[in-house]
Symmetry: C2
Subunit: 291 residues, 2 copies
Amino acid sequence: MVIKMTEIINKKLKNYILQLKGDTTELAKAMDYSLNAGGKRLRPQLVLEFAALCGGKPENALPIACAIEMIHTYSLIHDDLPCMDNDDYRRGKPSNHKRFGQSTALLAGDALLTLAFEVALNDEAVEKLGLEPARSCAFELAKAAGANGMCMGQALDLKHEGSKITAKVLEEIHAKKTGALISASCVMGCIAAEATVDEVEAARQYGQKLGLCFQIIDDVLDVTSTAETLGKPIGSDIASGKTTYVTLFGVDKCLKLADKLTTEALELLQSFNGNTEPLVNLTKTLLARDK
Amino acid sequence: MVIKMTEIINKKLKNYILQLKGDTTELAKAMDYSLNAGGKRLRPQLVLEFAALCGGKPENALPIACAIEMIHTYSLIHDDLPCMDNDDYRRGKPSNHKRFGQSTALLAGDALLTLAFEVALNDEAVEKLGLEPARSCAFELAKAAGANGMCMGQALDLKHEGSKITAKVLEEIHAKKTGALISASCVMGCIAAEATVDEVEAARQYGQKLGLCFQIIDDVLDVTSTAETLGKPIGSDIASGKTTYVTLFGVDKCLKLADKLTTEALELLQSFNGNTEPLVNLTKTLLARDK
């Protein structure tokens, strides 16, 4: 099911780019380059799986699933820019600005962020989701991505760059920087299926736990994986003097923490009446991933 | 009326920043710095005036009026970045990245773009506008700002940088880069007042003419004004070898063209039944402006 789902997501994402009138321009090429660079599609999968879990039709949630992947992709493009993390590689390929230049990369990020709201609010989305769920999803998206969510996480990260930080601050950074969008994915899936308030709340908490677990595993892989598997140089966090879960707690304790968070996330899934198997599998796969 | 209106807009914009939980952070400060740097508030004024013209309450359109100003402001912040126009000054003050650094400026732009959709889709906007007009306005906003609108205009501008271009290409660049957002302001005002399809169409065309006229006057002021009045160095377009309306046609022909567009814009206002006086005045003021 997971494979088939990512194929549907990939096809739809490609389609949105093809629909841009200027799809042969550098801008559309740059957007397409990063949007279709082999991402895991974790966030859209969460949208679709939570929609299914709450009794909705996953295909109706496809536009907002694509919208959140566009936002995730824009954040990676802007993150990689020289004035931010200055990363030359992403998923084993040159990062957007290495391939298209900084100005086009900047615009491609801006345009993907904007396109996310366009596809979440267009006639197709409204027809599939209904007017209020479409509005509500787009609103969740904006909150999660904005100045109290992902952008704030980035700003906190910048603020503490190069200085030792506590576990509490690190958790706050990741809760905003990664957690907000992952959590919003789960919430939007529920909204798309017109789930109950309790279900939405459980999904939000599940997403927060999964997001933190995801980040801890990322930090672990930075020291235990290989460059070939990760598609980017390993040990880069350590080399740059960055505080990570590994520098704070070491690999063993990180793995235990990830295990605990996974267990808690799985428990939250039990509050749902639907078939939790796909999400249980997805949760476990993320814990055991090697890239 | 114009003065009072800009005061209401300024107060509301300030309020949105104060509502950010992290309003004492660098990110919020950077957002506030550019959002409240003394802009003309042309776009929000157009939203409110068209709402009034079509029989709506301007105060109901205030959230979307602020949303479009946030998008305009983000575009200025990103435009000024070193990888784009590399401008050190904006409205007589250091540009955002000169004041806060490139990474914070990048994030402030991203966060303002995202906040625009948050305030256009939140409970207050939906209560004031109704669900479908709120959705429709946010959708217009995304289309106008995105890869077929403002971002495309920027991309076209980049593509032709340093090369001679025709009047047709220059017009296309400006129609996307400036025209799309100005036109959307007029359209959103109409939508907020639940105007007829014909009124929306007339507003769209009015906005396109006004947007082009606005740009032509900008090009003229770049050679005829003073640095003190403009708040930025004059002659910068000429110095950078940029093709402008002035380099293509000269100042006299530009003023005639601006006059013609203003007349056409004023004619379009005659299709409305409401009191056109405030918009007639606004249109004429823009033609006669010195900054």
